[in-house]
Amino acid sequence: MNSKRQNKIAIGALYGIAGLVVLILLALLGYILASGVPQLSWHFLTAPAKAFLKGGGVGVQLFNSFYLLILAMAISFPIALGAAIYLYEYARDNWVTTTIRTAIEILSSLPSVVVGLFGFLFFVVKLRLGFSILSGAFALTFFNLPLLTRSIEDSLRTINLEQREGGLALGLSRWETVTRVILPAAVPSILTGVILSAGRVFGEAAALIYTAGQSAPALNFADWNPFNISSPLNPMRPAETLAVHIWKINSEGIMPDAKAISSGSSAVLIIAILLFNFTARYVGKRLYKRLTSA
């Protein structure tokens, strides 16, 4: 077989594989959206769920998902940022950093149900936080921290050594170089990483089942005092998220329209995650453009 022919076959095979991946994705998306989108309505997106009757919505779950996401990000982003800056900008390669990196790697490959069970034992039981948004947010932090640290570290890595030297050569301290030169330059890529990880957190169910709980008590959306139990902002209330809701309906849902609610919820989840992904790309590109040319 001559090399030209070999090349053609290889390219053909690669196209085939790539096409297959896209096809599977499209089929999945198509199925979920086709069966879910007809269920969507304003009522579905805002009404509370019903346990036995038909006509329930996912308003509370949707709110819970976003609230939990914001809390989890608020906790994990500063820690991940600090860890990444330390690992990439300050730490030298020695056994300490090797240990940290290995730990991060193992943590990132931990099955999320294990993270959830750990969260249950530690936050829910030991620290007596109960099934609450706070427990869930901590569990999600465990789940999210290694991925976010990795992605921020990668973002820092994309900034050339010359930029660091340029900052230092101007008489900036190391810290000033990092905060005033490197971080601003890395913002587009960091932001992309954050939004993408937000998508993963948003769709996470297993880590939340035992921490944030599987019940969604009715909320009073007129009460924004975080100390009231029916306030949406109260971090100590149990909070079933959208992803957990899907899991629960499918395993033990007894409402007559369980199938429809499950399809609708799945569609909402997928649409939200797609939105995260597209926003990440768009915002990242825009920011990069703004920074690099006028």
Binding site: A169, L170, G171, S173, V181, T292, A294
Partner: protein, 252 residues
């Protein structure tokens, strides 16, 4: 020539076990341009980077000997690298403007040092860009990204950025090797303008460049300083055979 501003005595530098600089003794008078020449890997860039402690960034580097700047040892245990680098600025081979506007690039050092007076900053920007001979080309788009400029313009903005923190010494590490001939000659003209006000030390691979702009030239080989003299003498009448071989292209 006026008195010595920077002196190096018996400077050794090791990358791990490997000795890259083998006892350099070299002094610089205030003002004027000194060119460091020599074949690749001879240690001239390494030497240049010891002068503002840029080698501190590289792990596993050991440095012995003394470098004295205005009477103070740069490698004293209590030496402040941040202060040193404000006095001894550096321009690199690859133009490395920050991904911000031209204006922000030039005032970055000052702004972080706490300068807020808008009028003063504006004045510094204009003065530095004029000194770097790039003002006329960029004055109408100061607030556009420096990355949109050509390589030569970027490099001159980088020079302006260093000038803005008013250093005494400017180190340049092959500043034109990534640029086209036209941009290179603009940079050379810029340096010739600056030589009366600053002490300039430039590493260059381009012998013509050294002969065109340098007052003094130092020839490095295999981690040693072979010869340093007035540029004219180095090129017309070198004292060492190695220097003559290198200058005339008979490299042995």
């Amino acid at each position: 020539m006026s008195k010595e501003i920077l002196t190096t005595q018996d400077l050794h530098l090791y990358y791990g076990e490997k000795e890259a600089l083998k006892g350099i003794n070299l002094n610089f008078d205030a003002k004027g341009i000194t060119a460091l020449i020599g074949p690749s890997g001879c240690g001239k860039s390494t030497y240049l980077r010891t002068l503002n402690r840029m080698n501190d960034l590289i792990p596993n580097v050991t440095i012995t000997g003394t470098i004295t700047f205005k009477g103070e040892n740069l490698y004293a245990p209590n030496a402040d690298t941040v202060e040193i680098r404000k006095e001894i600025g550096m321009v690199f081979q690859q133009p490395n403007p920050f991904p911000f506007s031209i204006y922000d690039n030039v005032i970055y050092g000052l702004r972080i040092a706490g300068e807020k007076d808008k009028e003063k900053l504006d004045a510094v920007v204009e003065k530095s860009l004029r000194q770097a001979a790039v003002w006329d080309e960029v004055k109408d788009h100061l607030h556009e990204s420096a990355l949109a400029l050509s390589g030569g313009q970027q490099q001159r903005v980088c020079i302006a950025r260093v000038l803005a923190v008013s250093p005494e010494i400017i180190l340049l590490d092959e500043p034109t090797s990534a640029l086209d001939p036209v941009s290179s000659s603009q940079i050379e003209a810029t340096l010739l303008n600056l030589r009366h006000d600053y002490t300039i030390i430039i590493v260059t691979h381009n012998l013509q460049q050294a002969s065109r702009i340098a007052d003094r030239t130092a020839f490095f080989m295999n981690g040693e300083l072979v010869e340093v003299d007035q540029t004219k003498n180095i090129f017309m009448n070198p004292a060492k055979k190695q220097t003559e071989d290198y200058i005339s292209g008979r490299f042995g």
